[in-house]
Symmetry: C2
Subunit: 340 residues, 2 copies
DNA sequence: ATTGGCAGTCGAACGGATTGAGTGCCAATC
DNA sequence: GATTGGCACTCAATCCGTTCGACTGCCAAT
């Protein structure tokens, strides 16, 4: 079994390897850290760590490198989440504070996060699941073409075009708008969808066809909170850490471009507002991201909804820093969004 | 001076180099193309081309590689824009045809373009310069917080939050909404801004402060068509052509992430709807993109506005194909947007 | 349990020889 | 004057052998 000192050895191996990108040997450990024992002793500990598959040697006679499992133990047991410096906190406050609408807040957040971590940063838009309908607008764009705009109390705006079956005059549009708003205002999205199902019934028979067309388009729009979005920044940081990927960074870039993939990945990660969770290396294999790790945290918006944000980078990343940054940014973002 | 055959030689040098990424020598030219002359003759032509700085040899005794100037001549005089295959045309039609709103159209366009060219594709949102106001909506989000939504006839929706000076009740909001719409509907954006300047005058004195707050926020929103957006796809393709960049692809990725840079770049390129223009290599130096080329074309939307789309890739790109693809996609997109 | 010592391993770095694609030049030819 | 074959020359790329150095693993002593 691995001794307490053994774990310390693992910790410094992770730290040094992350810092230098070079396999770390017993000798360099004793001279860089004060373990009070000799290199030979460290070597003995390393054999045990290797037996447990926490570290591995790229080739005989080279230093050791953490395995995915080693990183996992580090993250779960050894990492100290050093809090951000006050300069960093201040940067977050002042930079995010200036934002005006939701888009802007999230855009600033994702940039901030990628700067703090030197990694790719991701922020998911707040889910609409518990949001409530604030307003519905119908805008004529032509004789038989209207735009539906749909606004939630979390400040999200969704729009969509419909080619309607028959021309609609302004008066009728006004009537429909008023009825829609009085029927749906304040409803949660699932409730709203339900009410829309037989919304056409309250109209004159000859209008029901076109009304139910509009209504069913709205239902789609309301339920398409699968239409989840996320914003992303700091892709260039991947190129900086290129050497950390076996082949090229091509597959990583490709996976990142596919927002659906990232959303699935986010979806699989446990989300508890306020704490962070991690996926390391091959744990992400199903997404083509077996050489990357992802650190995510949940943040909550006014609706009480929990959405995710996080960073993605090479497995050899600075977990302590990144976990701290994700946690701090998530908390700050929650506070900012709940104020409203 | 360079003979006609000399230009033919330049053409095949560009073509072969683009195809193989290897400096091309006189011998490989005569055996791969039927020039009807010997390698020595080609060599003579090549020294002339080199005198004109159209090609260069990476080192003594290696084949030749086009210079930026060589690519320029190729693009301006030698490239044959081979039309797309019918399969490609069909792919465009069927893929873009399914789109529903403007966001979706542009998202599909940019993906399509990046697939057709194996490059990074960019599509600028249609400018609002000649768009007209279709509808203005004021939505209460809290006692003293409202969202302004602003819809143009080109189908663009802009929203913004305002913290108003004093609480506004629904009745008054309704009045303001009605007056705003009757004052602004159908106006072009500069006209709208003008009318907003003294919009507050038609309200009761005690309301003018808050009204003019809302109005001036709307003016900002209306005039912020500098708030140009663009969408982007195919970043991963850069990694595939990594060897074409001297150092790493880091600076390129960095420049691409900065949308402002790209918009400035777009802004400097001549735009004539229907034709394409090119910027090659060091012509983009001011943007940190001295190792890339950009091919852009203009497309026009319903408002008659011209916006840009294009592709960006290593200087060693397939200009013939990319110019053809940009032109075809731009035309198709124009047609699609003008239908509405 | 810890330690110093020592043989052994293996990648990285260096240097020299070889190879081959390609050039430049020149005298001969059409 | 343009074209051609021939030839010496250059230089990156490749291969091969050596050296170097940072490690490890093991063992006997503490």
């Amino acid at each position: 079994m691995v001794s307490a000192r053994g774990l310390d050895v693992l910790r410094v191996i992770v730290q040094d390897y992350v810092a230098t990108r070079e396999p770390v040997g017993s000798k360099s450990i004793v001279e860089r850290h004060s373990f009070g024992v000799s290199a030979a002793t460290i070597r003995n500990d390393m054999v045990l760590l290797e037996d447990e598959e926490l570290i591995t040697a790229p080739h005989t006679s080279s230093g050791r490198v953490p395995t995915d499992k080693g990183y996992r133990v580090f993250v779960d047991q050894l990492a100290d989440l050093r809090p951000l410096t006050s300069a960093q906190r201040q940067a977050i406050e002042s930079f995010l504070g200036q934002a005006d609408d939701l888009d802007d807040v999230l855009a600033r957040t994702v940039r901030m996060l990628s700067q703090l971590t030197n990694s790719v940063a991701l922020v998911q838009y707040p889910s609409l699941a518990t949001a409530r309908v604030r307003h519905i607008e119908l805008v004529p764009l032509g004789a038989s073409r209207i735009m539906t705009v749909f606004i939630t109390d979390s400040g999200r705006v969704e729009q969509r075009l419909i080619d309607v079956l028959e021309p609609l005059d302004d008066v009728f549009l006004g009537e429909m708008r008023a009825k829609l708003n009085s029927a749906l205002n304040g409803q949660s999205l699932p409730e709203a969808a339900e009410r829309l199902a037989n919304f056409a019934d309250i109209f004159a028979a000859e209008r029901q066809a076109v009304v139910s067309q509009v209504a069913s388009s709205l239902v789609e729009q309301v339920l398409a909170n699968r239409h989840d979005k996320l914003v992303l920044a700091g892709t260039a940081n991947l190129a900086r850490t290129e050497q950390d990927f076996s082949g090229s960074i091509f597959p990583v870039l490709e996976a990142i471009e596919e927002q659906v993939t990232l959303l699935r990945l986010f979806g699989e990660m446990q989300v508890t507002s306020g704490s962070v969770s991690t996926r390391i290396g091959r744990e992400n294999a199903e997404f083509g991201l077996e050489e990357t790790s992802v650190v995510t945290g949940g943040y909550s918006s006014s609706g009480g909804d929990v959405a995710r944000l996080g960073v993605l980078g090479p497995t050899r990343m600075d977990y302590s820093n990144n976990m701290a940054a994700v946690r701090a940014v998530a908390r700050y973002l929650s506070r900012l969004l709940e104020e409203n």
